[in-house]
Structure formats: structure tokens, C-alpha cells
């Protein structure tokens, strides 16, 4: 061996040992043992994955062999430069994986169907591991595409190259998505204890949670920046935070926390009369000039606001005074019932409007609505009525008063004896028949509008997708000289055509005899056209061949 084997301390299955990379295999030896316990040739490695947390773990998965399930090994790197070690191992393994997939043969077919359609081996050219991963990801995300891939490529109807040749856009999109750097998660994290048993509460705090807490509370952020990682660890800081009022405040009233730590970061410089107040409140009234002011008004103060009475001159008593104010405000508010008309702070616009707008100058607004002058109201509505296209009723011109008289007399003499009221049996039955036929017609209409059942629809869609894919490949391959390929495609197309024709026979969907194969008509037409063209070409070729 030219170069010494790379070794690093690695723990496997909670036992410490050494991982060493060789030329054709890598192995792991328990500390103190002579022989390596785990020996894995590079050819058996299918994939590897790393995790992102504090512990440096590498997961190596092997090909499933002989019907056994996939085997995964998890290695935890223990050294001080664990990440660098892991990186080295990853590079080596990746190199070998791509080497193997590029030139070697695929896994033994006796291993059974893999869980997802494995990216097959291309005929020519190497396929980088990244591209393979991309293809795999696309097939996994898009179930229909995966199905199509399985039926078409794995049964060798269409080569994989052809399949992906028309789907370049999918691959570029996936590649872009993979490489996209995602920022910090923006959700406001709700920290809750996990597995809280009694007084002992466990909290799970990830980096995202920390970021969201820092964004929510500026004092916490200031404290964090000042202390971590120099004066205290993240863990200690989070502990302090959880005990503090910030967290306790969210949990509900009554639980006080220790605020001493955060208090120092919280206080803001509050000087009401500073030259440049930190958060200058916008007073809309400041901009309004009192045009009626005379010189005499400005003698003492000039243009400054009046500053003779300065509250809070003694800085040290400020917190006390403020506290006092707060408490008395609370007392007052609690005792005085708030007025029903809440007087809000008028907005700046309102203040200016009140001062500047004069009522006299506002123009008189006319009425908004304009009356609709319909000349002849009856004619307007009459068009809605009397639309009957059927024969209009011939109103017999009878004497109205005579009619009325006879009618009211008839009604007056009407003494119904309901027990004697009868409906003639025969006519009743005939009406029943009529109504029944109407109902049947209605029911048929209901059922006709019902959608196809889901399995039938799925099968139809799958058939359609397969036909489309094959036709696509056929027409793009028509310029190539590969007649064998074309013939192969055409045979499958014929097969699909027969399946489409027999679609009805296979799936009967109740009395709904709407022919489903009619739905395939367009597809059938195009398939038939392709088949016809192929046959014609075959005949032409044969003629050409014969005539030579």
C-alpha cells in the first residue's frame, strides 16, 4: 500500500473504535480488538447521508442483497476534528460510488424490486451521482411520472436517455431547487416543554427557535450578543431566558420570573427633553402655524415650545415618579367608567383638515342618485312576461259579470263531503305511470352526470399518459434510421390501442353505459395514424429492398 490508511476514531453502535479506509473496502475495528468487526467493500455501498446537528454522524446504506432489506450503518465521529474526518470519508465513498455506477453493473436483479425505481445505468457516458440523485428525487416527488417510468423504462420499452431527453426542464428545475440556499425559518417558534413530568421540564431548542426568540425580543437579543459565546454557553443563556419573564409572560399571568439578568439590557435611554429624542413622536399640531399670532405672543419664548416647566429634572427620581404615574393611571382607569364614545387620537390628516377646511367653501353636492325615467313602465316589464313560444291561449271573450256570477254561485253551493271525494282508479294509475317515467328519466340524468369512479379514471389516465409518451418518442425518432426501435414502439402502440378499445369490457360501471372508449377517441386516432405511417414505410422499404 502506497499511502497509509486513513484512520479516525468513530463510534459504531455506541462502541468506540477506529474507522479506516482502504483501497477496496473500509472497515471498523472495536477499540482494543485485533480484527475489524465490520468490513464493507466499496461496491456494496449504495448511498451515504450526513446529519446536520451537533453530533457528527454518517449513515452509509448498502445495496439490498438477496431479498434482505437494505442495511444501514450509522457511524458517529468522535475526534476533535470530527467534521473534517467525516468529510474525508464522504469524499472517498462518493468517489467510489460514482466510479461503480459509472462503469460497473447494477445490483443483482435477484434482489427484488427496489423500493423506488432505481436510476438505471446509462448505456454510454457517466452519470454523476448528483444527476442520479436528481432523477431519483424527481421520480419520487411525482408519482405519475414514477409510474410511467416504471412501466416504460424498466420494461425496456424506451431507453432511459430518451425518457429524460424530453424532460430536461424537470432536471434543471430540480437541480436549481437543490442548490437554492434556504434562509432561516421565519416562523415564530412556540417553545413548549416536551415530556414534562412534574417540576422537571424538558425543552427542545433548535437554532431556528433561538433565531425566532431573538427576533421577537430585542432585549434578549442584546443580552445574547453580549454574553454568548464568551461569557456563557447557549445552553445557560436559554435556561436564563426560560426562567425569565419573557417566557413566563407567554405562559400566562401569575408566574413571575427572575428579571434581574435581563433588566440591565432592557432599559432604554429615556430623556424626554433630549435635543434629538430617540423616537421623535410626530406631532401633527406642530406643523400648523397660528396665523393670528402677534409679536407679543412670541416675546418670551421665541419659536421654541415652552420649556420653563421641566418635569423630571432630577434624573434619579424618574423611575419612582414614573411608577407612581403608572399606578395612579391604573387606579383612575379602573374607577372611572370609560365613556361610551371613545375619543381616539385624531390622525394627522384629520387635524390638518379640521384646521384648514372652511365649510363655506365646500361646494354643494347634488343628489347622487338619478331617477330612472321609464316612460312606459308596463311595457318595460312586459317583455319579461309573455315569452311563451308555445301557442298562446285564446282567451274566450266571455261576459265578465256573468262569469263572476256563475262562479260565486257555484262556490256558494259547494258543500264538500271529503269522505266522498274520490279519484278514479284508472286515471290515478295512469298518472302514476307518467310520473314514474318522468322520475326514471330524471334519475338517469342524475347518474349520467356523475363522474367516473376513481379507479376507472386512474386507469384511463395511465393508459393515456403511456400512449402520449410513446407517440412522442415515435415522432421524434422518425428521422432516425433505427427501424427496430420504431417497430418496437409501434407494437406497444398497437397493444395500447387494443387495450383502449376493450376498456369498456373490462370495467363496467353500473348502469352507466356511456362508452368510456369514446373518451379515447382522440388518442386512438393519433395512434392509428402513427401505426399506418409505420406500415406504409415498412412496405416502401421492402419495395426498395426488393427492387435493388
Amino acid at each position: 500500500m502506497a499511502s497509509p490508511r486513513f484512520r479516525c476514531p468513530v463510534s459504531y453502535k455506541k462502541r468506540n473504535g477506529q474507522l479506516s479506509l482502504g483501497a477496496h473496502e473500509f472497515d471498523w475495528t472495536l477499540d482494543g480488538a485485533e480484527q475489524p468487526e465490520l468490513r464493507i467493500p466499496y461496491s456494496a455501498v449504495k448511498a451515504q447521508a450526513q446529519n446536520k446537528s451537533e453530533k457528527v454522524i454518517l449513515k452509509v446504506s448498502l445495496w439490498a442483497q438477496n431479498g434482505q432489506p437494505e442495511v444501514n450503518h450509522n457511524f458517529t465521529f468522535l475526534s476533535t476534528n470530527a467534521a473534517k474526518d467525516r468529510q474525508k470519508v464522504i469524499e472517498t465513498l462518493a468517489y467510489h460510488i460514482s466510479q461503480r455506477s459509472g462503469t460497473g453493473s447494477g445490483p443483482p436483479s435477484a434482489s427484488g424490486t427496489p423500493q423506488h425505481p432505481g436510476a438505471g445505468v446509462p448505456k454510454g457516458g457517466t452519470l454523476s451521482a448528483e444527476e442520479r440523485q436528481i432523477r431519483l428525487a424527481i421520480l419520487q416527488d411525482n408519482k405519475e411520472l414514477g409510474e410511467l417510468f416504471k412501466t416504460l423504462v424498466l420494461s425496456n420499452l424506451i431507453s432511459e436517455e430518451d425518457f429524460w431527453a424530453t424532460r430536461q426542464h424537470l432536471m434543471t428545475y430540480q437541480k436549481w431547487q437543490k442548490n437554492q440556499k434556504k434562509g432561516v425559518l421565519g416562523t415564530i417558534a412556540d417553545v413548549r416543554p416536551t415530556d414534562s413530568d412534574g417540576s422537571d421540564m424538558k425543552f427542545k431548542i433548535t437554532d431556528d427557535v433561538i433565531a425566532s426568540i431573538l427576533a421577537q425580543f430585542p432585549p434578549v437579543r442584546k443580552a445574547y450578543e453580549a454574553n454568548v459565546p464568551n461569557k456563557m454557553t447557549k445552553e445557560t443563556f436559554m435556561r436564563k431566558y426560560l426562567e425569565s419573564k419573557f417566557y413566563q409572560r407567554n405562559r400566562g399571568p401569575g408566574s413571575s420570573g427572575s428579571d434581574a439578568f435581563f433588566a440591565q439590557y432592557e432599559e432604554e435611554e429615556d430623556d424626554d427633553y433630549a435635543v434629538h429624542p430617540k423616537r421623535a413622536k410626530y406631532e401633527s399640531s406642530h406643523l400648523l402655524l397660528d396665523l393670528a399670532a402677534q409679536t407679543e405672543d412670541h416675546l418670551e419664548t421665541g419659536n421654541r415650545p415652552d420649556t420653563t416647566m421641566r418635569a423630571g429634572g432630577v434624573r434619579s427620581s424618574l423611575p419612582l415618579i414614573r411608577q407612581f404615574n403608572r399606578v395612579s393611571e391604573g387606579v383612575l382607569k379602573a374607577n372611572i367608567k370609560p365613556s361610551s364614545t371613545q375619543t381616539k387620537e385624531p390622525t394627522a390628516d384629520e387635524v390638518y383638515l379640521r384646521s384648514t377646511e372652511l365649510d363655506d367653501l365646500r361646494p354643494a353636492e347634488g343628489p347622487i342618485a338619478k331617477a330612472l325615467e321609464i316612460a312606459d313602465a308596463t311595457k318595460y316589464f312586459q317583455s319579461q312576461v309573455g315569452l311563451s313560444t308555445s301557442t298562446p291561449v285564446e282567451r274566450q271573450q266571455l261576459n265578465a259579470s256573468q262569469l263572476l256570477r256563475t262562479f260565486s254561485k257555484a262556490v256558494q253551493n259547494w258543500e264538500p263531503i271529503l269522505s266522498k271525494t274520490a279519484v278514479s282508479r284508472a286515471s290515478g294509475d295512469s298518472i302514476l305511470q307518467q310520473l314514474n317515467t318522468l322520475t326514471k328519466k330524471r334519475k338517469r340524468d342524475y347518474q349520467r352526470n356523475r363522474a367516473l369512479s376513481s379507479t376507472v379514471a386512474k386507469d384511463a389516465m395511465a393508459l393515456h399518459a403511456a400512449a402520449k409518451e410513446l407517440l412522442h418518442n415515435y415522432w421524434s425518432a422518425i428521422t432516425e434510421k433505427d427501424t427496430e426501435k420504431l417497430t418496437r414502439i409501434v407494437t406497444v402502440l398497437q397493444d395500447i390501442l387494443d387495450k383502449a378499445r376493450n376498456f369498456d369490457k373490462d370495467s363496467r360501471d353500473g348502469p352507466n353505459n356511456v362508452s368510456k372508449s369514446a373518451a379515447f377517441k382522440a388518442m386512438q386516432d393519433s395512434v392509428e395514424r402513427a401505426i399506418r405511417l409505420h406500415k406504409k414505410r415498412r412496405v416502401e422499404d421492402r419495395h426498395r429492398f426488393l427492387s435493388i
Binding site: P392, Q396, L403, F407, S408, P416, V423, S427
Partner: protein, 288 residues
């Protein structure tokens, strides 16, 4: 909302336009006998009341100039209370009350009609629909926690009134809003009961049933078959219905059906040809 909890309210609106009924009675081919029709209607009402003990009922007469409650009867002070002793022994009291009230009030209504000049050939359909819906609302509030399922059955023979178009459509929309189905039973003959435009639309919009009865002799069969099931059962049953509702627009100038036309943007009236001024609302169509 299960069917056990809710109360069913049936509102029957009877078109009592005397002239229409009288004309129909004189019809040569298939005369309508008002008495017979009412008898069958009363049997139908009894059937509705018999279905459940708490089924509610209201009957409204839509006369030429007023709408009147036939049941529950509105007793004024001068009327005597109904005569309880005249009830035959083996008649169910509730049926008897309903029958008596309807018959008596209806007779009074029709025979009190004055001279023919006051009586026009029209029926206050919109007013009766409003009356029915306000009654439904009242009963709904009275039974507040219990849900109420209401439907309106209209027996109609009079022609549509164009002046009542807006009012009728408003009633229909109100019914649609509340969920009240409007069913229509239209008597159709050679000389009476021409095709209505509002009523099929009413049924279509509210989810009700529109039936045209060719012979009134066997009205009961139609009523019991199609109009008896309550709204909850309607969702399960499949009832015979008229397929197409005529929603087509007619141009205002010729009253012919148009497929493509011109619409005034102010009053929304439809025309088949362009003009400078809208004939309906006199807005000038200016423009470049």
C-alpha cells in the same frame, strides 16, 4: 339537522282569481271545477298534517285585490267562534278545524266580491308570497331553538302580471336566501293557464318542483306523489321535474327571443338593434 328535530311548515298559496277560475270552468275541452280542486287540496293538507304530529300549516288565498289567511283563521271581534258541536264524532279534530276554516273563509271571500268592475283578472301572487314568508319567519322565531323546514306550494291558474315582476322576484330571492322551497302546481289547458315565466324560475332558484297538471280531476295523485315529501326527504328522493327552464332573454322592442343583443347600461333593457337613445329610460347613448 336531522329530520327528527325540525318542524315542517307547509304554506299553501291558492290562487283565487274568480275570473280565471270561471274561464277555466267554461273551458270546452277540460273544464276545471274549483270545488273539486279544493276538495283534493284539503285531502292533501290533511295528509300533510297526518304525517307528523307537529307539522305546521298555513293557507293563504291570493285574490284579485288582497291576500288573506285562510288558515289559521283570523277571527275578528264580530265573528263567532267556530261551532264546536257540529263536528262529527269520528273526525279528527285538527282536520276538521282546518277544513272548516278554509271552506268558510274562502266562501266568504268569493261571494263578497263586489261588482265586476272592481274585479280584474289578476292575482296578488307577490303579496301572498310575502305573507307566507313573514308567517314562516314568525313561526321560525317562535320555535327558535328547533330548526324549521319550510316550503311553499302555489296552486296557480292566473297569468303572470308584468307589473309585479320586481316584487315577485324579490320574494323568490328572499325564499332562496332562507332556504324555503317554492313548489308550483300549474293548471294548464287550452284556454287557460298559459305558460308562466316567473313560476318555473321560482322553482328553479329555490330548489322546488314545478308541475303542470293537464287534468284537475286527478290532482290528488299529483299532490301526494310529488308535493307531500318534506324538504329533508327531498334530498333522498328523486322527483319528476321539468328539465329546462326558459331563461332566454327577449328583446324589448319586438318581444322576440334574442341570443345576441344590445343592453342599455343604465336600465339594463335588451334590444336587438342599436339606437341613439334608450327607449326605456331615455338615456342618450353618446360616444365617439
Amino acid at each position: 339537522m336531522t329530520s327528527e328535530e325540525s318542524i315542517n311548515l307547509l304554506a299553501v298559496v291558492i290562487d283565487t282569481n274568480p275570473i280565471a277560475w270561471a274561464t277555466a270552468a267554461q273551458d270546452s275541452r277540460c273544464p276545471l271545477d274549483f270545488g273539486r280542486v279544493l276538495e283534493q287540496l284539503l285531502i292533501f293538507i290533511n295528509a300533510h298534517l297526518a304525517l307528523r304530529f307537529d307539522n305546521e300549516l298555513v293557507v293563504i288565498a291570493s285574490h284579485t285585490n288582497q291576500s288573506l289567511f285562510l288558515y289559521p283563521p283570523q277571527l275578528s271581534d264580530t265573528d263567532q267562534p267556530p261551532d264546536a258541536s257540529s263536528k262529527p264524532a269520528n273526525t279528527y279534530k285538527q282536520f276538521f278545524d282546518v277544513n272548516q276554516a278554509v271552506i268558510k273563509t274562502l266562501k266568504d271571500l268569493i261571494t263578497e266580491s263586489k261588482s265586476p268592475e272592481d274585479v280584474d283578472d289578476k292575482s296578488m301572487l307577490a303579496g301572498s308570497l310575502s305573507l307566507a314568508q313573514t308567517y314562516i319567519n314568525r313561526i321560525r322565531r317562535a320555535n327558535d331553538p328547533t330548526p324549521l323546514q319550510s316550503r311553499i306550494l302555489i296552486l296557480s291558474v292566473s297569468p303572470d302580471l308584468p307589473s309585479q315582476y320586481v316584487a315577485t322576484m324579490n320574494c323568490i330571492f328572499a325564499a332562496q336566501r332562507v332556504g324555503t322551497r317554492i313548489d308550483v302546481c300549474r293548471f294548464r289547458g287550452k284556454h287557460y293557464g298559459e305558460e308562466s315565466v316567473f313560476l318555473p324560475q321560482a322553482c328553479h332558484l329555490t330548489g322546488g318542483l314545478y308541475m303542470e297538471i293537464p287534468e284537475a280531476e286527478n290532482l290528488l295523485q299529483y299532490l301526494l306523489y310529488a308535493f307531500l315529501p318534506d324538504p329533508y326527504m327531498r334530498s333522498v328522493l328523486c322527483l319528476p321535474e321539468k328539465d329546462q327552464v326558459d331563461f332566454r332573454a327577449a328583446c324589448f322592442c319586438h318581444k322576440t327571443v334574442v341570443d345576441v343583443g344590445y343592453v342599455c347600461s343604465v336600465c339594463l333593457s335588451i334590444f336587438c338593434s342599436v339606437s341613439k337613445q334608450c327607449p326605456t329610460c331615455q338615456t342618450q347613448f353618446g360616444g365617439q
